[in-house]
């Protein structure tokens, strides 16, 4: 293992520019003659548009143009379709919707864009935007997912044959599950809500678009996790032009978490407006516009039942869920619908399941993927059910889990939701985490808390998730000086790929770490890629890079042979050098690479330049990987104020094979903070008329540094058997494991008071309220 190789906590190469304020985020960039765009947003969640009058706005100082939905139709600007529908994953047909970039007839949620004002300065554009007159005819709204699923609810899409239901997806076997339930000793029922939240990347979305009439082509700088995906949609769905006419650049992006993984109307608007105005157009979201218009996430309710035998062995699981789509079926929302069911069996040995979820339209912002994308919903549901079952049956919650964990000798394990767990030792992860958290020391700490007038509770959450979707391409390219560049189809926006992938190349090719350049995020420089989301990059990117590295060595070997005047059969590649077997004659790869650029001589026959590409497929073409682990949390609750304090938090994660442990720990800590945010602090709240109540950081709570204790984390490595690197992706474990761990810990503290259920976020008010309600019930 070399100093910059696999497994080392190499300090990041990216940090230099971020620490000195010389990063290139989209809002930092400017093009000559640029002007500024501001969108006019609908103040109604459901309304017909009777009239739009832009004349006053057009006459406002500095205004270059004002675009409306009528203009969009006249210019044949297409609507944005969803990434894919359930049919693509073998599910039933769903009700797809197209999202216009500017609405001309009806708005279906707050934040729909009805006009786009372009002016010399942003201030002038904002001033003019307020002069756009829109006559709305408000319509009734439906905002809550359980209200919207009712057949009598306000219908959001009149041509939807199924009310507001977009699709119902199911997994399992009803008959087998009914049979399992009929022989159960215990049947436990619970309703859980997974509240609506949003990514709140600290960098708001931004887009800078430029149309070039000389080449009739577009350039877009955008805060996207997937520039090639954006280019494809712009070409095929929006402008109906060849992809060669569009360049998309995602430079430094300040956090994405899934929210920045799709094309937004704002990306289209700057490009289209640039063509109309003849100048580059820049748009930056305010935080208010971000909370309003970014994709939201979760917003799901599950009614569940667990069947157990007298020993607490799980016989079957039933779940009937509904999850909000928002006003449109949009972006990648199909994915969480599937994952929210597929991972319900989690790490437990259960074959009889009857699971379904209905995707429901509501007059709210469209939902999509957010760190975990359905896996948080699944694990939250099953772990809330298990703790409730432990409470109802009196079986210890650790013991209950232990009796049901899939044992190592049962692997590979095929779940009733078509997942194939290839590797893992789930009991060992749980025991390690219990030890890390000093589970056995709880009673003493509980007594101490009690002396201070506080309640104390704890919880344990084994988890598993599925990572590594779609295929990917990575290229390695040498230059005449012998330096190599990694050209990545993935997109790092905080994950440290420039460092981690360079570690792989440094180890495999034996080239100096500092000599490796990293390129990503530009459709002109990267032939094709799929971006970064869903904990995919280390596995699919890393494996593709492996094949690229192997191809480089294979191409370079004959050149090495020619340079050393030896047959290729007598050469081996080791530690960055081609060596004549059995001798100490060797030549470094760097020297061999330079030879590919010689303008004359006998080696021209090997071609000009040294480069190679590698591809690798995760699911569904190939196999995903299954990161897994366990989290334990201990909380203190002040019964007088409802304040929850996290006293300790431990996480154990099986990462298969670790490239950079420092980066992995950072991912775990960040994910846990977001999970804690959902559990205790964050909530997107709409009033019944669809007005957003949490429209700024004054009202949408965000986890702060003093909300968290130091997290104790342990990284384990049980290599995955289904990818050449053995990697399991780390990006999402925190948001998956933390919410149920924290909520169950609080319930553990509150159950002695008679509290049995609670929904996220567990704000002090909510905790205090359930305590009061329990007191009232007890008194009655």
């Amino acid at each position: 293992m070399t100093r910059f190789g696999i497994g080392q906590a190499v300090r990041r190469v990216e940090d230099q520019r971020f620490l000195t304020g010389t990063g290139s985020f989209v809002s930092d960039m400017s093009l000559p003659r640029q002007c500024y765009g501001v969108a006019v947003l609908s103040p109604h969640a459901h309304a017909n548009i009777k009239r739009i009058d832009v004349s006053a706005a057009e006459a406002s100082p500095g205004v270059l143009c004002v675009l409306t939905g009528t203009d969009a139709k006249a210019d044949s600007i297409g609507g944005i379709p969803p990434h894919f529908m359930p049919e693509a994953w073998g599910g039933p047909k769903g009700f797809a919707t197209l999202r216009p970039v500017l609405l001309a007839d009806r708005v279906r949620c707050l934040g729909e864009r009805v006009a786009f004002v372009v002016a010399e300065t942003e201030a002038q554009a904002r001033d003019a935007a307020e002069l756009v007159e829109v006559d709305y005819e408000p319509l009734d709204t439906v905002v809550d997912v359980e209200d919207a699923i009712d057949p009598s609810a306000v219908k959001i899409w009149s041509d939807n044959p199924n009310g507001n239901i977009g699709v119902t997806i199911a997994f399992g076997d009803k008959a087998a599950t009914d049979a399992a339930f009929s022989r159960a000793k215990h049947v436990v029922k619970l309703r859980v809500r997974n509240n609506r939240i949003t990514a709140c990347a600290i960098e708001p979305r931004a887009a800078l678009g430029a149309y070039d009439p000389a080449s009739d082509s577009y350039t877009l700088y955008t805060t996207s996790q997937d520039p090639h995906g954006v280019r494809s949609k712009l070409a095929s769905a929006i402008f109906n032009i060849a992809e060669t006419k569009i360049r998309v650049v995602s430079p430094d992006v300040g956090g994405g978490f899934g929210m920045k993984a799709n094309l937004y109307p704002d990306d289209v608007l700057v490009l289209w407006a640039s063509k109309r105005c003849g100048r580059p157009v820049k748009w930056t979201a305010t935080r208010a516009e971000s909370l309003l218009c970014d994709t939201h996430a979760r917003d799901q309710v599950v009614h569940g039942e667990l069947a157990l035998d007298e020993n607490g062995k799980i016989l079957g699981i039933r779940a009937k869920a509904c999850q909000a789509l928002g006003a449109y079926w949009w972006a990648a929302m199909t994915a969480p619908l599937f994952f929210s069911l597929m991972l319900i069996p989690s790490v437990y040995d259960v074959q009889a399941v009857d699971l379904s979820t209905s995707a429901v339209f509501t007059n709210t912002a469209p939902t999509s993927v957010y760190r975990g994308a359905g896996r948080p919903e699944a694990i939250y549901f099953v772990e809330r059910m298990l703790d409730h079952a432990a409470y109802v049956t009196g079986i210890d919650r650790v013991e209950l889990r232990r009796r049901n964990l899939i044992k190592p000798d049962a692997l590979p394990y095929h779940t009733p939701t078509h997942q194939n767990y290839d590797s893992g030792d789930f009991e060992r992860m749980m025991d390690k985490c219990l030890e890390l958290a000093d589970w056995n020391g709880f009673e003493a700490r509980k007594a101490a808390s009690k002396r201070n007038g506080k309640l104390r509770g704890r919880a344990v959450t084994p988890y598993i998730e599925m990572a590594g979707v779609f295929n990917e391409r990575m290229e390695l390219r040498f230059d005449p000086s012998g330096m190599v560049s990694i050209i990545a189809g993935t997109h790092s926006h905080g994950q440290g790929h420039a460092t981690a992938f360079a570690q792989l190349v440094s180890e495999w090719l034996g080239v100096p770490f500092d000599s490796i350049r990293y390129i990503q995020g530009d459709t002109e420089k990267v032939a094709i890629g799929r971006g970064t989301f869903a904990a995919r990059s280390s596995m699919v990117g890393g494996s593709a890079l492996r094949f690229a590295a192997d191809a480089i060595i294979a191409k370079a070997k004959p050149m090495a042979g020619a340079l050393m005047e030896t047959s290729v059969d007598d050469i081996e590649f080791r530690d960055g050098r081609f060596t004549v077997i059995g001798t100490d004659r060797s030549i470094p790869l760097t020297t061999v690479a330079k030879a590919f650029f010689a303008p004359a001589g006998p080696v021209l026959k090997f071609g000009l330049g040294l480069d190679a590409a590698g591809s690798y497929s995760g699911a569904p073409g190939g196999a995903p990987n299954y990161p897994n682990g366990c989290q334990v949390c201990e909380v203190e609750v002040d019964p007088d104020t409802g304040l929850v304090t996290i006293d300790r938090f431990a996480a154990v994660d099986d990462l298969g094979r670790i490239i950079n442990p420092m980066i992995c720990e950072g991912q775990i800590q960040g994910g846990i903070a977001q999970g804690l945010g959902q559990a205790l602090i964050e909530n997107i709240a709409y009033d019944p008329s669809g007005q957003l109540l949490t429209g700024s950081f004054m009202d949408y709570g965000m986890p702060r540094a003093d909300d968290l204790p130091d997290i104790a984390s342990s990284l384990e490595e049980i290599p995955a058997k289904t990818n050449p690197l053995g990697i399991k992706g780390i990006g999402e474990s925190g948001t998956i494991g933390a919410p149920p761990t924290i909520v169950n810990a609080v319930l553990d503290a509150l159950r002695p008071l008679g509290v049995e259920e609670i929904d996220m976020p567990l704000t002090p008010l909510r905790v205090w309220q359930v305590i009061q309600e329990a007191k009232t019930s007890a008194a009655a």
Partner: protein, 154 residues
């Protein structure tokens, strides 16, 4: 339009601003110092944190015109001749950043803490960062970085 004269990162600057121009916009849009970032509308995120006369302030809440005669330091003013300030170096050493967007504000806030508390506890660091949001790191490595940066500066 009012003119304002101030020092930014040690250099004398004169700029024409509107009465309503915020310091953050003067720095980013007119002076090209884009290292200081905008992350919210309600002065909570702290990505805009700079120093005015050595004291940290949220530049989104300061009018440029009110900086007449003052000395402003931004993230770009910390490294000397390409060498990172010990606090910057500490953030790198302890992985105190991921996407980098909140980082300039964090570093500037950290320096302010150390100015009046040269040996802060982890608890004190966490409390001081109430005005700085990070979505990527979960704060733990930021706290470690600031602890180490403070020690390096002692």
């Amino acid at each position: 339009m009012p003119r304002v004269s101030l020092t930014v990162n040690g250099k004398a600057v004169e700029a024409e601003v509107e009465g309503r121009t915020l310091l953050i916009n003067l720095l980013r849009d007119q002076l090209g110092l884009t290292g200081t970032h905008i992350g919210c509308d309600t002065s909570q995120c702290g990505a805009c944190t700079v120093h005015i006369d050595g004291v940290s302030v949220k530049s989104c809440s300061v009018l440029a015109a009110s900086c007449e005669g003052r000395s402003v330091t931004t993230i770009e003013g910390l490294a000397k001749d390409g060498k990172l300030h010990p606090m910057q170096e500490a953030f790198r050493e302890h992985h105190g950043l991921q996407c980098g967007f909140c980082t300039p504000g964090m570093v500037m806030a950290a320096l302010d803490l150390v100015r009046h508390n040269p040996q802060p506890t982890r608890r004190e660091i966490r409390e001081h960062l109430e005005g700085n949001l990070c979505r990527c790191t979960g704060y733990q490595n930021i706290v470690t970085s600031i602890e180490a940066g403070a020690e390096a500066m002692r």
